[in-house]
């Protein structure tokens, strides 16, 4: 049902997403123990290949793999000989020869992990972010984080809620959507789970078409704020605010930033997420970033459990026994 690769949230569908979130809940439980390791992927070798450096995401994946007892090969290709124009295929064939079971790929080019999956035989490929395309594990951990928060508010166990807490929820994704892999993964996850998604950005930061996305589009943030259950604030890259896509960072903050004034107008119980790293004072005011309604540190924390769930399901099909007590004995 899941796999062989995790290249896009679309690979999972509604049931696959819920399965990942549920398994992630049980790994989140493991994390609370003193012995955080489970033997689920003992003997498996997982490589991370980050053609574009992202220490946070790489550490999160590597921590997840280690907690599943997998051996981790960390190939820092971003700083090595792999430069623009060097064959992705050759680099991948080299690691294939190392006898790995899965490879986690971050690449500046959209589609590179999909190409990698074509070049490799019998190796699971996990997309850790490709160009403007997708960042599936981020989309999953964002969905996981908000489901947990909504379940806590409702006083229920999130693992029993399936996608019910998303039904009818109004989710606003605001900022640089055109160039955001997080936006594409969140849209696929949230719409699959039954939420109503509105994309808010100036036209220059919206994708040229949202045909088939199942979302509505707004060019102004203020009219959609008061109704929103969740505001997903995306990062604006500085160069896009210096005349390329918007006149200035100042104007962007004025019109689309999650300022303190806007945060005050959110309805009770509304949440804010941000995939990080935040540019405080641009897309999100510093005070809002530190507001308890903003889940950014929880997102980072949850990343490990969600990535454990994704790796576990991909590599075992969910069939390996998740015996936590055995893990403790192992210690």
């Amino acid at each position: 049902m899941i796999g062989p690769h995790l290249l896009s949230i679309a690979d999972l569908g509604h049931d696959g997403i819920v399965q990942v979130l549920n398994v992630a809940e049980s790994f989140a439980e493991v994390e609370k123990r003193t012995m955080k390791k489970v033997p689920a992927l003992k003997g498996k070798v997982i490589a991370t290949m980050f053609f574009e450096e992202s220490t946070r995401t790489r550490l999160s994946f590597e921590t997840a793999a280690k907690r599943l007892s997998a051996d981790v090969l960390s190939l820092s290709v971003a700083t090595s000989s792999v430069k623009k124009g060097e064959s992705l295929k050759d680099t991948l064939k080299t690691i294939e020869a190392l006898g790995i079971d899965a490879v986690i790929i971050r690449h500046r080019s959209s589609g590179a992990p999909l190409q990698a999956a074509r070049f490799l035989d019998d190796i699971h490929v996990v997309n850790a972010g490709d160009g403007w395309h997708e960042h599936p594990s981020q989309g999953l951990l964002d969905a996981f984080t908000v489901r947990q928060a909504w379940a806590a508010a409702a006083g229920v166990d999130p693992a029993t809620t399936g996608s019910s807490l998303f039904q009818g929820k109004k989710i606003v994704i605001v900022g640089d959507i055109a160039h955001s892999r997080v936006a594409r993964s969140e849209v696929l996850a949230y719409t699959a789970l039954g939420a109503e998604v509105t994309l808010v950005a100036p036209a220059t930061l919206l994708p040229p078409s949202v045909e088939g996305w199942g979302v509505t589009v707004a060019h102004r943030l203020d009219p959609v704020l008061a109704d929103a259950d969740l505001i997903s604030v995306l990062r604006l890259q500085a160069e896009r605010g210096s005349g390329e896509c918007v006149p200035s960072l100042r104007e962007f903050t004025e019109t689309f930033g999650m300022t303190e004034a806007r945060a005050e107008r959110l309805k009770d119980g509304a949440l804010i997420t941000h995939p990080g790293p935040m540019v405080r004072g641009v897309e999100i005011a510093s005070a809002v970033a530190d507001d308890p309604r903003c889940l950014v540190t929880t997102q980072v924390h949850n990343g490990v459990a969600v990535r454990m769930a994704a790796l576990y399901l991909l590599l075992t099909g969910g069939n390996a026994v998740l015996d936590h007590s055995e893990a403790n004995r192992d210690a």
């Binding site: 124009g85 080019s109 190409q115 160009g131 395309h133 040229p208 045909e211 996305w213």
Partner: protein, 447 residues
């Protein structure tokens, strides 16, 4: 200096139909010492004649490609003039126009002469399109008159368009005085904004930078205005959008001396192909949605577009295995053009075979001035004329009922980057005759 000798000996093409000035006629064709000598039924082949079976086939003027990237000099690992000429012959082409974006580019008499010399002995006649500006940099005019003296008829910076409107206007004006033709790769790079695919639903979904149709159309519009104002002749390369077709149709109605070409991939593939992120579908102008494909077909059928040109662009497998945004644009075209055009235009769109030969042979020969023997100092023979006694035997024999499957590794090009890998094709090129020499017999290159 006539470098293109007619082949000695007698060839008889037996059976099938022949495209003559009077239309399609069931007949045999006799070729003696490189010239067609008879088009008549039930010819008795003289002793020693080569007899080519054309039962069920159509014999017509050999195809002429206005847009071939031969890669020599500079990228001989992807294609050489010889390998490209072999691919051309197998595709039914008796003449191709080599594009100037080689390395070094074709902006000097020295390099142009080298390419013409290398092309003089190949299995297709090689003409050259010269660069319009030095280094194809879009700034200083190339030595157009000097290249024209070598017989260069088309001038273009293909690979890119001339971005500066003032330079384009001056170049167009200068060409007019020499009787040569300015040809444009229409793409306003500022509007294209680094886009590697068509901007639309697919670019949005895949997170690939898109270039809008207006990037092409803006330059089409600019060039048509300039050509109209100057009374200049202009040829527009590989049109791919609804708007471009509309602009050219309107310009022709106003009497502007514009000709236009379209590539087979732009009337057979859509941008949905890029969903696989397979860079074999990366091409410039990019593949576009259905409505654009339909407009190209309409333009080809109604005469707005004058020629089918392959934009044959070989690239090595290594470069096509790069991430989509880094891979070079372009796809092979010479060996699949006829089949694609036959299936899409004749079988599916109901185009008459005569019109298809106009698009593949007669019109491009006229645009490149390869239609008259001796018009070129380099001695190219005449191409594109319907089959009749007296014409040089630059002929193709196509088999409309043949079926074959494309395999990149089986193509004569050194590169394998066909976007039609594994696709079943309708119609094939059976024989190609160059100046009386059967260079392709039964789909096999003879040298």
């Amino acid at each position: 200096m006539h470098r293109y000798p007619l082949a000695k000996g007698t060839v008889v093409i037996r059976g099938g139909a022949v495209l003559t000035p009077a239309g399609l006629v069931d007949a045999d064709v006799v070729i003696v010492d490189g010239l067609v000598t008879a088009v008549e039924s039930n010819v008795t082949a003289p002793e020693g004649a080569t007899v080519l079976d054309a039962e069920g086939c159509i014999t017509g003027p050999g195809f002429v490609d206005l847009h071939t990237h031969l890669r020599e000099p500079g990228k001989e690992q992807a294609e050489t003039i010889a390998s490209g000429a072999r691919a051309a012959a197998l595709g039914g082409y008796t003449a191709v126009v080599a594009m100037p974006n080689t390395s070094p580019c074709l902006d000097s008499a020295f390099v142009v002469r080298a390419v013409l010399d290398l092309g003089a002995t190949t299995t297709t006649e090689v003409a050259v399109a010269g660069a319009i500006t030095v280094g194809r940099a879009g700034e200083q005019l190339a030595p157009i008159a000097e290249l024209a003296a070598l017989g260069v008829q088309l001038f273009t910076d293909d690979g890119t368009g001339v971005q500066h409107g003032g330079v384009a206007r001056r170049a167009l004006d200068y060409c007019t005085g020499l009787g040569v033709t300015y040809a444009e790769h229409c793409e306003d790079l500022a509007i294209a904004s680094g886009g590697v695919v068509h901007e639309g639903a697919w670019s949005a979904k895949l997170g690939l930078p898109g270039q809008p149709a207006s990037a092409e159309e803006a330059m089409v519009a600019r060039d048509l205005l300039l050509a109209g104002e100057l009374g200049a002749r202009i040829h527009l390369l590989h049109l791919s959008t609804v708007g471009s077709v509309e602009l050219v149709r309107a310009a022709k109605a106003k009497g502007i001396a514009v000709t236009a070409e379209a590539a087979p991939h732009h009337f057979t593939l859509t941008d949905a192909e890029i969903a696989s992120y397979d860079a074999r579908f990366k091409v410039n102008p990019p593949l576009r949605p259905d409505e654009h494909v339909a407009a190209i077909i309409e333009g080809l059928c109604d005469g707005t577009i004058d020629a089918i040109a392959t934009d044959h662009a070989p690239h090595t497998p290594e470069t096509k295995d790069l991430p989509f945004d880094e891979a070079p644009p372009g796809m092979l075209g010479l060996e699949t053009a006829f089949s694609l055009a036959y299936e899409r235009l004749v079988e599916a769109a109901g185009m008459r075979v005569e019109r298809l030969f106009d698009l593949l042979s007669t019109n491009p020969a006229r645009i490149a001035e390869l239609d008259a023997a001796g018009a070129r100092p380099y001695g190219h023979t005449a191409h594109g004329a319907r089959v009749a006694p007296g014409i040089p035997a630059n002929l193709v024999v196509v088999d409309p009922s043949a079926r074959w499957t494309v395999a990149g590794t089986a193509l004569a090009s050194l590169a394998t980057n066909t976007p039609y890998e594994g696709r079943s094709m309708h119609g094939s090129v059976r024989h190609t005759i160059l100046r009386g020499e059967p260079v392709v017999i039964s789909g096999e290159a003879q040298r």
